[in-house]
């Protein structure tokens, strides 16, 4: 088994462990390359099926290609696709693009808050109806007790501290200083009422591993990752007001791999195109508050 085989096997093991132990389980799909690889790994784990609902937090400021891609794949792969949103903040225009908040607060409202209340079932969820081919309100209101998230340890400092199975308390707080032990391949699969567990199958993957795996498995990803003539491409996807493409000529997956291995990108942080990270506190403040 090579390095990618081992990473794949470990992720599959984690996904199956989550599916076995959590009766109310969902997978967050950001439409980005990482969580798309994770979705693919779920198809590996469950032999072509995805028996877990996929949840997307729609800020309604996502780059339009992302949403088109999401819905196309949802129909093609027969996914139980859900989305949630912060309707109140959007309606009252409490957002950064509307000029009413800073970037971090906007992230907090449109992502962290929306996520928290979508997972808990307090705010409406919308489910893709495969016959109608559009979204309908979902009747399910039960909170998700297991949430599968595609974070990678190499992305940024705080993520390198994560466990595969990481408990969050009632307020979604992550007690980073007192995390449960993970002995061998036994994880925290028991949780007390009111709490939930985040599950991180991609923790050991690097950005390069992700692209090598996409290449090997021929996984379809959003076209925004590739240079389509402008000499730029997105390296990390988010909302259009806060996400900038990087200068790069890579048109294919293998060109991205070459670029990561030897090119100039190896010296630039992956999320450097994400403007919210550079505000005071940045990603870490967001993550403590429940951001992925």
């Amino acid at each position: 088994m090579d390095h990618l085989d081992k990473l794949e096997a470990q992720s599959v093991y984690i996904l199956r462990e989550a599916y076995r132990e959590f009766k109310s389980l969902c997978m967050l799909w950001s439409i980005g390359k990482d969580s798309t690889v994770m979705l693919w790994l779920a198809r590996k784990a469950f032999f072509g099926h995805v028996p877990i609902p996929l949840v997307h937090i729609d800020t309604h400021y996502k780059i339009p290609e992302m949403i088109l891609y999401r819905d196309r794949i949802a129909l093609e792969w027969n996914l139980n696709m859900m989305y949630g949103e912060n309707r109140e903040a959007l309606e009252s225009k409490l957002t950064f693009p509307d000029g009413n908040t800073d970037r971090i607060t906007c992230c907090k409202y449109l992502k962290s808050e929306a996520l928290k209340h979508t997972l808990s079932g307090e705010w409406p969820r919308y489910r893709m109806d495969h016959d109608l081919k559009h979204y309908v309100p979902d009747e399910g209101k039960e909170p998700y007790t297991g949430v599968i998230v595609g974070v990678r340890a190499d992305e940024e400092g705080s993520r390198s501290k994560e466990r595969y199975f990481s408990p969050r308390d009632k307020d979604n707080v992550w007690d980073v200083g007192d995390q449960p032990p993970e002995f061998w391949n036994q994880f925290k699969t028991d949780f007390s009422p009111g709490t939930h567990v985040r599950i991180h199958p991609l923790l050991d993957w690097t950005e390069l591993n992700i692209w090598e795996y996409i290449e090997r498995e021929k996984i379809p990803v959003v076209s925004l990752y590739f240079n389509q003539g402008s000499g730029t491409r997105y390296r990390s996807l988010g909302c259009y007001p806060c996400t900038n493409p990087v200068d790069s000529g890579s048109r294919t997956v293998s060109e991205i791999i070459d670029e990561l291995k030897s090119g100039r990108l190896s010296n630039i942080a992956e999320r450097s195109g994400r403007a919210q990270d550079s505000e005071d506190g940045g990603l870490e403040t967001l993550r403590r508050d429940g951001y992925m």
């Binding site: 093991y13 099926h49 200083g177 995390q179 925290k188």
Partner: protein
């Protein structure tokens, strides 16, 4: 390859990692700059260790609070370096790091010498099964790169490691801060002829031995995605040792069921004929057998694992509350989960001060104990000396993993806690003045404990209640007890914890003992009981007898229920069949509808 780096606080682990990242050209430009900038702003001299201290509270405390992963690559292969904290408070993180590693770097400050954590971490790494250990003797610049000082420390530490049966691969004198012997050999220690740290990492070998061991496949789950028009019934899991091929005979333990591999299942790969160690995949079997997640699939042609309920173990306890006798915990081994009790403590080692004790009655936080555990139902395992992956377990207390350990030997021929309990109970049973024969004569029937079981939804309760009614109409003393009544009454103190499954079963058994002693035909239902549930009830109910009626699919492996009823029949037919059997067995003399 996963490498864990351990050692005492301030002995320089983070500096070693920072150096490795810098010297292999792994650092993103922004990261180093931002850390340097941060140091400048806080008027601190830059140290490589700060690179890893990514979190705010970590920097303010100045100690590594958690296990962090770093990635780098040499010409040879990819590495994940797991930075395990040295501080005693963060032992859980150290364990998490070390239990994932294939090799370990143990860092010792040459100036401070061997400290508490140098020993404790040596011990932990050994117990967690990390076989390849290299000792980095750090801060050589503080002792003028003296060969003599290095050799002295090497001799002392080798002695200690020998006591705990660890044989280090090598000792390397380094100065992580200055970069000596990390990526390139140091000109300041010409007397050192060994490998640099990077060369040593590349020389560690991947664990290949597991592939040659007997096949072990903990069954993680059984999938059937019928609603997606997929009729495959797939036994899913990861191969923890050995290999298996299409056509091979397989045996499931502890149930003892047998079948053969029909196909190896995987998604988006070329068809596979063989599954090897480390692969996460699935199998279909040539016969439809009822197996549950948690069984261990093996090949009957190879050395078999042990099966038992009582075994000697080494436990490392990290729970805030101590591990105590009498209490039920949850045990997870391979893919099996069962309830477990601490039966005996043979001796303990306090990991804080490394003192031994032979007379403790509980395991406190950071104790390593040689103990005897008893599970409520048998588990399949290998002693850790035979195959490490199937001999490791964790213990869950109140939702948290609070301990981990390895099985040393099977002690299943000993008297179990349950057997001892029943022996003592019966020796002290206070009898009334009425003999059971007198009761039988007066009642016109014998006492009996009747258990209806089967998967949920087979109509067990309706039949059980109708049976009570029918017996009553025949003026026989029968009593039906709904399990929900016990949950809210007798078991109210247990809550809905899975860990208490054994205690719940015990209470039903004790009730049966009393009610059958009172001469009743005592009827209850248990969802999906297995062989060991029935065995437990049977023992607890002694000297009275148990009678088991299974409805629908038979989930037992070896146990033969006294009566097998179909799931879809009428209640009246079912009651009649049970009554007929009661007559045959001379529990009752006659029964009129």
């Amino acid at each position: 390859m996963n490498i864990v780096i351990v050692g005492h606080v301030d002995h320089g682990k983070s500096t070693v990692i920072g150096r490795l990242l810098a010297d292999t050209g792994t650092l993103p430009k922004g990261k180093l700059e931002s850390v340097k900038e941060n140091c400048r702003r806080n008027s601190k001299p830059f140290e490589y260790a700060f690179l890893l201290d990514a979190l705010k509270d970590e920097q303010s405390q100045g100690i590594t609070i958690d296990m962090a992963r770093c990635f780098f690559k040499t010409a040879e292969r990819d590495y994940i370096i797991i930075d395990a904290p040295g501080h005693i408070e963060f032992l859980k993180n150290m364990i998490t790091g070390a239990s994932r590693a294939e090799s370990a770097l143990l860092v010792i400050d040459v100036d401070e010498g061997i400290r508490e954590n140098s020993k404790r971490h040596g011990q932990m790494v050994s117990m967690l099964g990390v076989k390849q250990v290299t000792v980095l003797v750090n801060k050589m610049d503080l002792v003028n790169f003296s060969e003599e000082v290095f050799e002295k420390l090497k001799a002392d530490y080798s002695d200690f490691l020998a006591q705990i049966k660890v044989k280090p691969v090598s000792f390397i004198p380094v100065s992580a801060r200055e970069g000596d012997n990390i990526a390139t050999l140091s000109g300041r220690m010409p007397w050192y002829k060994g490998a640099t740290v990077l060369q040593q990492l590349d020389r560690f070998t991947n664990n290949k031995q597991l592939q040659d061991k007997p096949f072990r496949f903990p069954v993680q789950d059984i999938y059937k995605f019928t609603r997606q028009n997929d009729d495959r019934r797939i036994v899913a899991g990861s191969v923890s040792a050995g290999s298996v091929s299409v056509g091979d005979e397989v045996l499931f333990l502890p149930s003892g069921k047998q079948s053969a591999i029909q196909s190896v299942e995987s998604f988006n790969t070329t068809p596979k004929q063989i599954a090897i160690t480390g692969e996460a995949l699935g199998f279909t079997l040539t016969t439809q057998i009822y197996i549950r997640p948690g069984e261990l699939m093996v090949k009957p042609s190879e050395p078999l694992p042990e099966v038992g309920t009582r075994f000697r173990v080494n436990i490392f306890w990290v729970g805030r509350a101590p591990m105590i006798m009498q209490k039920e915990y949850k045990l997870k081994i391979g893919s099996a989960r069962t309830s477990v009790k601490l039966a005996e403590i043979c001796n303990t080692l306090d990991a804080s001060d490394l003192s031994y004790s032979k007379n403790k009655h509980q395991l406190d936080c950071r104790d390593v104990g040689e103990c005897i555990l008893e599970t409520s139902r048998p588990i399949a395992f290998d002693p850790a000396s035979a195959s490490e992956t199937t001999g490791r377990f964790v213990i869950v207390d109140n939702y948290e993993i609070t301990g981990g350990g390895i099985v040393i030997e099977n002690l299943s021929t000993d008297e179990t806690l349950l057997q001892r309990h029943i022996r003592e109970r019966e020796n002290n049973w206070e009898k009334g003045l009425i003999r059971s024969e007198e009761r039988e004569l007066a009642n016109r029937h014998r006492a009996k404990f009747i258990v209806f079981t089967g998967v949920p939804g087979t109509g067990k309760r309706s039949v059980a209640k109708a049976l009570e009614q029918g017996l009553f109409a025949n003026r026989l003393n029968a009593y039906y007890l709904g399990v929900a009544n016990i949950d809210r009454g007798l078991d109210a103190d247990l809550g809905y914890h899975v860990d208490n499954a054994g205690e719940r079963m015990r209470r039903i058994g004790e009730l049966a003992r009393i009610l059958t002693d009172a001469g009743l035909i005592f009827i209850t239902t248990i969802d999906d009981a297995d062989d060991y549930d029935i065995e437990t009830l049977k023992q607890l109910n002694e000297p009275s007898d148990i009678l088991v009626v299974n409805m629908g699919e038979n989930g037992f492996s070896r146990y033969h229920p006294d009566l097998q009823l179909p799931a879809g029949g009428t209640i009246a037919d079912a009651v009649k069949e049970v009554a007929d059997m009661l007559k045959t067995k001379e529990i009752i003399i006659e029964y009129q509808i």
